[in-house]
Structures are given as C-alpha cells and as structure tokens.
Symmetry: D3
Subunit: 127 residues, 6 copies
Amino acid sequence: MEKTRYQRGLKNLAEIDGAAGQRVVESLRDIAPDFAQYLVEFPFGDIYNRPDLDLRSREIATVAALTALGNARPQLEVHIHGALNVGCSGAEVIEIMMQMAVYAGFPAALNGLSAARAVFAERGAEK
Amino acid sequence: MEKTRYQRGLKNLAEIDGAAGQRVVESLRDIAPDFAQYLVEFPFGDIYNRPDLDLRSREIATVAALTALGNARPQLEVHIHGALNVGCSGAEVIEIMMQMAVYAGFPAALNGLSAARAVFAERGAEK
Amino acid sequence: MEKTRYQRGLKNLAEIDGAAGQRVVESLRDIAPDFAQYLVEFPFGDIYNRPDLDLRSREIATVAALTALGNARPQLEVHIHGALNVGCSGAEVIEIMMQMAVYAGFPAALNGLSAARAVFAERGAEK
Amino acid sequence: MEKTRYQRGLKNLAEIDGAAGQRVVESLRDIAPDFAQYLVEFPFGDIYNRPDLDLRSREIATVAALTALGNARPQLEVHIHGALNVGCSGAEVIEIMMQMAVYAGFPAALNGLSAARAVFAERGAEK
Amino acid sequence: MEKTRYQRGLKNLAEIDGAAGQRVVESLRDIAPDFAQYLVEFPFGDIYNRPDLDLRSREIATVAALTALGNARPQLEVHIHGALNVGCSGAEVIEIMMQMAVYAGFPAALNGLSAARAVFAERGAEK
Amino acid sequence: MEKTRYQRGLKNLAEIDGAAGQRVVESLRDIAPDFAQYLVEFPFGDIYNRPDLDLRSREIATVAALTALGNARPQLEVHIHGALNVGCSGAEVIEIMMQMAVYAGFPAALNGLSAARAVFAERGAEK
C-alpha cells in the first residue's frame, strides 16, 4: 500500500535526519505537497529502508556525494546532521570532507568543511 | 621524509585498489611521472593513511562521489574494485549506486550500475 | 497498491521511451532487479503520470537537462527517442540542443547534437 | 547588420524575461558592457529568435537545464519569470522541478522549488 | 555585417584549432548547419577575436575549464591541439592537467592527461 | 622534509593569494588543522612550485576552471585576487569570464563576472 511506504519513510526520515528532515518536508507543504510525499516515499520509504546497507554507511555515501557535487548546501547540512544521528562521529564527517579533496578538488572539500562547521555549531559541539 | 609518504602511499594503494591502482600509476610513467608520485603521496600516503575513518567507509565515500559526479568512469571502476577489496560486498556496492539515484538522479545510478557490472564480470563474480 | 504504480509506470515507459526504455529495464534484471522496479515506479508511475504537464513538454525538459549535464549519453539517447515518440519533431530536438549552448556551453550542445545524430540514424531519419 | 541582431535580441529579451532580464543587462554595464551586448545578441537575437521551437518550450528547456545544473540560482529565477511570462503556469513550473528529481536528484529539485517559491512570492502569486 | 563575424571567426578557428576545428564545423553540416555558423561567429568571431587577452592565455583557460568539467572529451582534445598550435608546449599542457587535480580532483586530472596523451600521439610527439 | 614542502607552500600561497589565502588557512585551524597543512603542502608546495608553467598562466587556469564549475564562489574570489596579484589585469580577468560563456554557458560567465565585481570593489578598483 502507498500508505505503508509513506509511513515507513516518515519513520526512517525521523530516525536519520531528525528535525532537519522534518523541516524540509514541512517547507514543501505550500508549494509542492505531492513532492513532500514522494520525498518521504522513494528515498526514505524505499531506498533507506533496504536492509543490505547499514544507515551509517548510507549517510557516509550521501555526505560524500553532496560534498563532491558542491551545489546543494542545504541538503548537505541536513545529511551531516543525518550522519551524526546514525552513528558517525564529527571526526569521521571531517575525514569524508578531506577525502573529497582527492575526488572533487580542494574547493569542494573546503565548502564541505564549512557546512560541517555550521552544523557542529548548531548542535553545540565543536567536533 | 618524502620517501615515507611515497612508500606509505604505495602500500595503501596496493591494499585498496590492487592491480587496478597499480595500472593507473604505471600509465602515468610516460606522460606525467611526477603526477604518478603525487597520486601515490597525497591521496594514498596522506589521506587514506589517516586512522580516523576505516578503509571500507572511505571506499563507500569514494564510490558514492564518483557515481554522483558521473564523469570519471575509469576511476569509478578502480574504486569499485577498491570497495570490494577492503570488505564491501557486491550487494553493498549495488546499494550505493541505487541510493545515488536520490542524490544525483537515475542516469547517474544507471551508469554506476553499468560500471559495477563491468567490474563484477572482470572479477568473475556476478555479484 | 504497489502493483498499480508499476503497471502505470510500465505503460507510460512503453508510450514514452518505447523499445529503448524497455532495454534499460531489461538490462537491470541481472544486477539490480529492484532498481528496475523503482525506475518503472517512481519516474514513470509517479512523475510522468501526473496530468499537470503534457508528455511533449516533459521530454523537452528531460532532453534539455541531460544535454546540459553532459554526463549521461545513454540516457540522453533514450530520451531523444522519447521526445520523438511523444510528438517532438527532429528539428525541435535540434533546437533544444542548440539552445543548451547558451546555458551549458558549446561543448554540451555539440555532444547533444552528436547524440541526436546517432538516434536519428537509428530511426532511419536524418532529421 | 549587427544592429539588427541586437535590436531583435532586446525585443525578445523584453518579451521573455521582462524586467528581470533587463536588470541582468544593466548590471553588466559597469564591468563588462561588451558582454551585455553579446548576451542580447547571441542568446536572444540568434537562438530565441529561431522559429522552429516555440517560446514556451524554450523556457521549459531552460528552466529544466538550470534546475538540473543547480549552480546558477539567479539565472534560474530570471527564467522562472521567463517561463511564466511566455505562457507556462506556476503549476507547470512546479512539475518541471519535480521531474528534475529523476534526472538530477532530489536536492536539485528541492533547490529548484525554492527558487520557484521566491519568484512566485515576488510576483504576488502563491502558485 | 554578419559576413564579417563569420569570416573573422573562420580565420581565428583555423589559426587556433587547425584541422581539428574544421572537422567540428564540417560535422555539423548535415544536422545543424546554422549551429556551425553560430560556432564560428560567437566563440571565434566575437570572443577569441578580442584583443585584451592573448591566444595562448585563452587556450590555457579553455583547456583548464574543459579538464575540470570532465564531460567534453572531444572538445578537450580539440583545444589541446589549440593550445599547442598557439604556443603552449606539451609540458605546459601537462602542468595544467596536473593543476586541475587541485580544483576538480585527481580523476579529472587523470582523464585530462589521457586526452593529452591521445593528442600528443596524434601529432607524433610524446611531449 | 615535510617541513620544506610546508614552508615552500606558505611562501607560494602568500605570493599568490595574499591575505585571502591566509584567511582560508586560518579558517581551518578550528575544524580541520591537518587539512590546512595539506592545502599548503600539495597545491602550493608541490603544484604551484613547479617551474614549467608561470604563475600568471596558473591563475588563468584556476580562474577559468572555477568559473566553469560554478559551485565554488569563495575559492573563485580568492583566485581572482590571486590572478591580479601575479600579474593579470582586471581586463584580462573579465576576458576569462566572458570566454567561459562559450565553454560553460552564459550563467557561469555572469556569476564569474559577479565574483570579479566583488573582488574589484574589495580592492578599490572598478577594473
């Protein structure tokens, strides 16, 4: 049932991205409510729900990809929260950013570190 | 000492990327030998040598980033080998590709899956 | 029901991308059968199924985006077929490519035109 | 005559992008006046002047491409205005953004929706 | 006069890209002859014709940009020819590729070096 | 010795990027001090230290690449300072931006010109 995908997605979204994820969904209510539904259902109800890769590994993959792409700062911040929520340490997040210098260049890494600093500050933790 | 970074890098490169990594270094001998050295030293002697993130997590990050960027197929194949060499299962690699559909679109995921298929075939394993 | 999204998606995929789309789905059977399902369900069962934008406009958007991104040639070819299947003329596809020179540069436009030439040849029509 | 391309371009720019386009041209006067001329002449005097694709389709292509690229927010906003000026509805713009989730990922779509929200607010229309 | 831009462009294209540039223009005759004209007029008749930056610097900029973008191999090869035609040494081209590792990552640099190797071989010069 | 690469890098960084480069290094002290070291050592101690390409050409390459990529505004501003510091005129920087319209599209060029305007203003020079 559609409903199950949505409910599964909401639960996973809450576990992974916490309040930051919820804010994204809320922000879509006015302009594209159906997209809020798809965002809960496909990424979080389908993909993140699959058992063959643990959530910590999934968030490492997402933080790495968004840092490398370098054009989605708000979503990168949400997923730095996500990585920290599912078991990554701040030091591990920093390592991912530094490693992205190798694959996407130093500017991508520097901007990733800037996003990490903002998230760490928001959570009241330097690292 | 420079020498130590290089030696450390060679050892890490061999452990992670195996023969595929060695082929990349060899291929640079004619055209840019100094770049072969930098490639060993900075990514593998400096970054991958750092203890704060395990190699399996590092390769997950790299495979995710290269799949998302979508413009570096040869290097993606090298690092799919790398991920499998340091403890990822084929099924986990597939999960990373599928997840990239969420962050970089379905074409990026499809092309990542195509790279995975090529590497799995080369290693004589469907999955 | 899940089944309905999938069935809807298969029907839309067949209408839009024809044999080229079917080949993409088939090619996933060995390596990522679940992804074949997601590909049918979310893009074609959810998005392309929405009534608020006609299929011709949707394919114009997709061809433009893939030409601009420039890193997904196989998928671009599939959607040039798609655009022609849902009512675009060859001349209109050429116009989209040319326009992308403005937004993503001349190389992106040239590579888009090269993809168009390949698809036109496959369909036995120069234009 | 050069003059004709420029005049043609100014007319098309005014029709498509309205005041937003004019502001872009004005902003170049101090730093790169020749580029203001090229911007009027090539994109708007040459490309948008061609009869083989209607303006509505052209703006759909541009909005899709800029949303997918995700690194040109000011220009995306100008062309959301453009799309609305030449006959797209707000709902159609939203559909394009949502569809870009399939080809460039959910973050690209979310940031496109954010740009749409800003433009709709500026025009005093929620949708 | 339009004719003058085109003639200026043809002359600059021949000087910069030589036979490789001519082949690009020829390849457009069947599918998009007007785009061949724009390609000669705007990039080569307008931009490369401007006196405020020397041709060697212009080709350095283009080779760097196409290496960093990493999604336009044929055009990168044309402009490696171009750089060599207007006074860059093979060693300088190699330096640009290596430097791009810093700004776009090692894979971009490796793929740039691969393009350089192909062009050097075509010209019968290892470096 | 490591120390030599670092010292060489600091000297080159100061010569090229001046105060802007120093601010980047300082900003990393809290969150990723090792990355500050790598940033000095590899790009500035290794790459920019190589004799086979002059600094003016190197900064032209970097400004072109970052303008084309379009997702690293802070680093683009640092390197516009850098280009001006090592001998480029403001007019030459403007030419690079304009040329990027050909290879990465008009939005990339416009955003590059916007970065140039900000840097010129900071340096108290309109051009």
